[in-house]
């Protein structure tokens, strides 16, 4: 429940960022540079006099948008690939799963960086890169769950009735594995948000002056001794967002796993 309400709050803040934020996130005020948190600027200001709270609120849009969109992209590509590979049992299926193994060899950040070096920077490219990073996880998950239900009677019945492979995969297999996929969706959304923050911290995310949490933490590190709020508040925002999705994922997993419901 906590995770659900926290996530809802984050989504509402991101959606209504323009109304919630007290100032324009890019509005500079040289007379208010590096002011510590006070009643006028709850999270203080940065070296350009920009309000940190407003930038954190607007940064939530980027992080949530990238996190959610990349997971949807990764889920669609990965789940389809995994289901097909499990159903095919032939050379193509084998090739798909070996490609998944190769992609999983790389740490997530390294693989995303490799992609971004090739395709360049920008929000759409970031979503694509993180989606590609997350797709192998969905492929492995859907591969395993499809294998477990592939030989069930209702699948055999559908095959016997002459249903074609795409129809069996989309109409019979996918609805039955969707539950498990959705549970991991929320956990891996948390991962995607964290990867986006890491990439922004490394300067590979959405370029400035767009406010992103990772970017803000990075620029704040150089001012850690005299203006720690510049790193701490965006860092806390990242942690809360990741925590919210982890809580939802954990809760869903606890509900769906019968073993954990035993006393």
């Amino acid at each position: 429940m906590v995770g659900f309400f926290l996530t809802l709050l984050l989504i509402l803040i991101a959606f209504f960022a323009g109304y919630v934020a007290p100032y324009d996130p890019n509005e500079q005020n040289v007379y208010s540079r590096l002011t510590s948190p006070d009643l006028k600027h709850w999270f203080g200001t940065d070296s350009y006099g920009r309000d940190t709270l407003s930038r954190v609120i607007h940064g939530s849009r980027i992080s949530l948008a990238v996190g959610v969109c990349s997971i949807i992209f990764g889920m669609v590509i990965g789940s389809l690939a995994g289901m097909f590979a499990a159903f095919d049992r032939g050379k193509i299926g084998n090739l798909i799963m070996r490609a998944v193994d190769v992609m999983m060899c790389f740490p997530a950040e390294i693989f995303a960086i490799l992609f971004l070096v090739m395709i360049g920077q920008g929000m759409d490219k970031l979503i694509f890169a993180i989606g590609v990073v997350m797709a192998p996880r969905f492929a492995r998950l859907s591969y395993g769950t499809t294998l477990s239900i592939r030989e069930r009677e209702y699948i055999e019945a559908a095959r016997a009735l002459g249903a074609k492979r795409p129809r069996i995969v989309l109409k019979h297999i996918f609805p039955n594995i969707l539950g498990e996929i959705l549970v991991m969706c929320s956990l891996w959304t948390a991962t995607a948000i964290r990867v986006e923050a890491n990439l922004s911290f490394l300067g590979m995310g959405v370029p400035p002056p767009t406010a992103t949490w990772g970017n803000m933490v990075r620029t704040g590190v150089s001012q850690l001794t005299n203006a720690p709020w510049l790193s701490i508040f965006p860092g806390l925002a990242i942690m809360v967002a990741v925590l919210a999705f982890n809580l939802i994922g954990d809760g869903l997993r606890d509900v769906m796993d019968p073993k954990l419901q035993q006393g």
């Binding site: 070996r98 193994d101 190769v102 060899c105 790389f106 740490p107 997530a108 950040e109 390294i110 960086i113 490799l114 992609f115 070096v117 090739m118 360049g120 948390a190 964290r194 923050a197 890491n198 911290f201 490394l202 300067g203 590979m204 933490v217 590190v221 850690l224 001794t225 720690p228 790193s231 701490i232 860092g235 806390l236 990242i238 942690m239 990741v242 925590l243 982890n246 809580l247 954990d250 073993k259 954990l260 035993q262």
Partner: protein
């Protein structure tokens, strides 16, 4: 066990080949001309052509690929496009720092995470379990660079207990360890959370098994049931995911090296990225991928040793 090990080692070779090929293709597809990046925008066409020929960039792609593999086999990773220093020399300097950071973080994660996971599993649904789960959930949610910044701010900036940056003086073990404390904590505490959750989950599964119920009903002491029967079986799935956790650790170490200004593969990679030094970038990617593959291989072999179904199979 021997068959399993040989099969596993042999499978590593094609995997390594495909991964190296992927790195080659991705870096070659990166936008920009490496020769132009080295000589600058005022370079003459003759100069650019001569440099491309010297770097082998005028050769067909398949020849460049074969040369790339051949050079890797000889241990030649090329020279930096920026300063002409052989990449192998640069890696020889920075790789030990990355390894000492990631290995120490994993060791900390295992030493803290496993006992804490067992402790919380044995006290399921009690206050110790709830606190442990909250702590571990926060632990896996906090980005490693943010935890590093918090530790840096509290223990270095405010309390002046630990150094702010660097990896310590070469040859001075005490100084190196002193500089390693905060970076190891920033990675290791997160690893602790992952391993604790996995251990707890695995212990709970095993404690529900029939053989544990049988051991208890035979009147065995709680200590023997838990540590001799349950724990050893619970450890098997934990070991099997250590490879995955090490890969996560490797990725997070990049950020930790930046936060603490430590030399390492991550810092070298970020510098190469910013300066478009594709030779260094390619080599660092190769090292990361190779490390990940061999760590997974090592973990799989350990797994084969401890899982009796494989050991005696």
């Amino acid at each position: 066990m021997i068959k399993y090990s040989i099969r596993r080692i042999l499978l590593t070779i094609p995997l390594l080949l495909v991964v190296l090929s992927m790195v080659f293709v991705f870096v070659r597809l990166a936008p920009g001309d490496p020769a132009m990046a080295m000589l600058g925008q005022y370079a003459t066409q003759e100069g650019l052509d001569a440099l491309r020929k010297q770097m082998g960039l005028d050769a067909p792609m398949w020849l460049q690929y074969l040369r790339f593999l051949g050079d890797l086999l000889r241990g030649d990773l090329g020279v930096s496009m920026l300063n002409g220093v052989p990449v192998v020399d640069q890696l020889r300097v920075v790789l030990p720092y990355t390894l000492e950071l990631t290995v120490s973080a994993m060791v900390l994660g295992v030493l803290l995470g496993v006992p804490m996971g067992v402790y919380t599993a044995l006290r399921r649904n009690r206050s110790a379990d709830y606190s442990g789960r909250v702590v571990s959930l926060v632990g896996i949610s906090i980005p490693s660079f943010f935890l590093g910044i918090l530790l840096l701010y509290v223990f270095s900036v405010r309390m002046d207990l630990f150094p702010v940056l660097g990896a310590g003086r070469d040859g001075d073990l005490g100084d190196r360890l002193y500089h390693l404390v905060l970076p190891t904590l920033s990675l290791g505490l997160i690893m602790t959370s992952y391993i604790m959750r996995m251990t707890r989950s695995s212990m709970l599964n095993v404690l529900n098994e029939d053989f544990v119920r049988t051991a208890k009903s035979k009147g065995l002491q709680e200590r023997i049931v838990v540590y001799k029967h349950a724990f050893m079986n619970a450890l098997i799935p934990v070991v099997s995911v250590l490879g995955i956790y090490f890969i996560i650790n490797l990725g997070s170490s990049i950020m930790t090296e930046i936060v603490f200004s430590r030399p390492g593969l991550g810092k070298l990679m970020v510098l190469a990225m910013k300066q478009r030094d594709y030779v260094v970038l390619q080599s660092v990617m190769v090292i990361y991928a190779t490390l990940a593959i061999f760590i997974n291989l090592f973990v799989d072999l350990i797994y084969g040793l401890i899982d009796p179904r494989i050991k005696y199979g």
